[in-house]
């Protein structure tokens, strides 16, 4: 009977419900504090406008740094928002309730990661062409930019969730988070900028993109497990 219950929860309707429930709930919350949700986007935009201000308004120069700038800014705006994936739930006790729900918590966590990507990574990806334009990125690079950002931001969300779960019980110690996750982010940044730079230079960019895809698959499989483990001991 107990076994039945577990099995039912693992691969049955309940698991799916747990997943989509959490996606929906987080999207609902994001919608309620819309200011919060669009903020990373605006942040992304604004910091991208800072680059020419700081650097030089010279088109040639800008287009050289554009790929890496766009990527670093995407990383920063994820860093800025990833803390919030669990901290609200921790502070108001929802996380406690999640941990004592009769179900595998990996599924809801994956749901939360997906929701995070939907409200930060995806809009950011969709907006990147505009910023590319402002940083005078050559036209040929846009497909690579879009694809690499789409994959890359999902990776950032997944890996960031692990960092966030580790620091969540430190309360607002979220400043520790960058320290934990930036090293984990390095590979994807390297591949991401490589993809766009290759595209700018009219080289074959599917190679680095494929590597990013592989990394994303691994992250989606492993990160919820790691985050769940971290959350379980965070309540001690």
């Amino acid at each position: 009977m107990i076994l039945k219950k577990i099995v039912f929860n693992v691969n049955g309707v309940a698991a799916v419900r747990g997943f989509s429930d959490y996606v929906k709930r987080d999207l609902q919350l994001a919608y309620r504090s819309l200011g919060d949700t669009v903020a990373p986007l605006i942040f992304f935009t604004m910091v991208c406008t800072l680059v020419p201000l700081g650097l030089s308004p010279d088109t040639q120069r800008l287009s050289e740094v554009a790929p890496s700038m766009l990527w670093i800014m995407a990383l920063l705006s994820t860093l800025l928002s990833i803390e919030r994936i669990f901290i609200h739930d921790y502070e108001d006790g929802s996380l406690e309730q999640l941990l004592i729900a009769p179900q595998l918590i990996e599924i809801p966590i994956l749901g939360k990661i997906v929701a995070h990507w939907l409200v930060t990574g995806l809009p950011l990806t969709l907006m990147s062409p505009l910023l590319g334009l402002m940083l005078s990125l050559p036209g040929s690079a846009y497909p690579a930019l879009l694809l690499s950002l789409a994959i890359g931001t999902a990776y950032l969300s997944a890996v960031g969730a692990v960092g966030a779960s580790l620091t969540v019980s430190l309360g607002r110690g979220g400043l520790l988070l960058p320290l934990l996750v930036v090293p984990l982010y390095m590979p994807i940044i390297i591949f991401g900028t490589a993809t766009v730079t290759f595209a700018v230079d009219a080289m074959q960019w599917l190679g680095p993109l494929a590597a990013m895809g592989a990394m994303l698959c691994a992250a989606i499989a492993l990160c919820p497990l790691a985050a769940a483990a971290a959350l379980r001991f965070s309540s001690i």
Binding site: S33, L34, V38, I42, S56
Partner: protein, 254 residues
Amino acid sequence: MAMGSTKWQWFYRLGSPRWFYEISGRWLPWLVCATIILLGVGLFWGLALAPPDARQGHSFRIIYLHVPASLLALAGYYIMAVTGAVGLIWRIKMSFMLMKSAAPIGAALTFMALFTGAVWGKPSWGTYWVWDARITSMLILLFLYLGVLALQRAFTSVEAGYRASAILALVGTVNIPIIYKSVDWWHTLHQPATLKLTSASSIHTDMLEPLVVMVCGFYVFYVLALCLFTRSEIVQQESATAWVKALATSESRT
């Protein structure tokens, strides 16, 4: 209430949403007419009658949208800041309502200036975007507007939203001259001023006259839009008061 004293009577009345609603209701038809006439004449004159530019051909006609939008985007910020300051100092709700309405209009005009500028940039400079000083400061202005808008929306308490955005608008005003100064200086630093093709002074009178009409039209349009936005804000905020309820019933009857 200190404002009840006779000395402040006029000021107090000015601060009454009801009074504004009624008086602006009387202005509305005139404003609508003036806007239609000025914009209609200006557009027809500028787009159809004025001669094409020697160097740019017909693409220069964007000027008739671009310049008025840019001018009003700038002026709108000051209107927003002044109404915000009045609201903060004398605690006049009406003034806050004007400020709140000025924000989306200003943001839209700024966006329009940027958009028309970018569209114009493609034929004249060969690119949609350059980091010219003036353009950059316009972009910053857009961000300032968006900040005010976002802050207003973020508060659940209307009153708090008013005051927060008013303070932000004021702080922004202090910064606007600095922004202009720094950006101008930054630009001359890195890049010789080669970008603007036709300077305003050298513009032909045939082109200038419709432009003046358009600018006037935009000003009237701005006032009209401000009135409309403010009226809807008034109805929203004062929906609990007797006079708005009476208004609603009388409107549903007719």
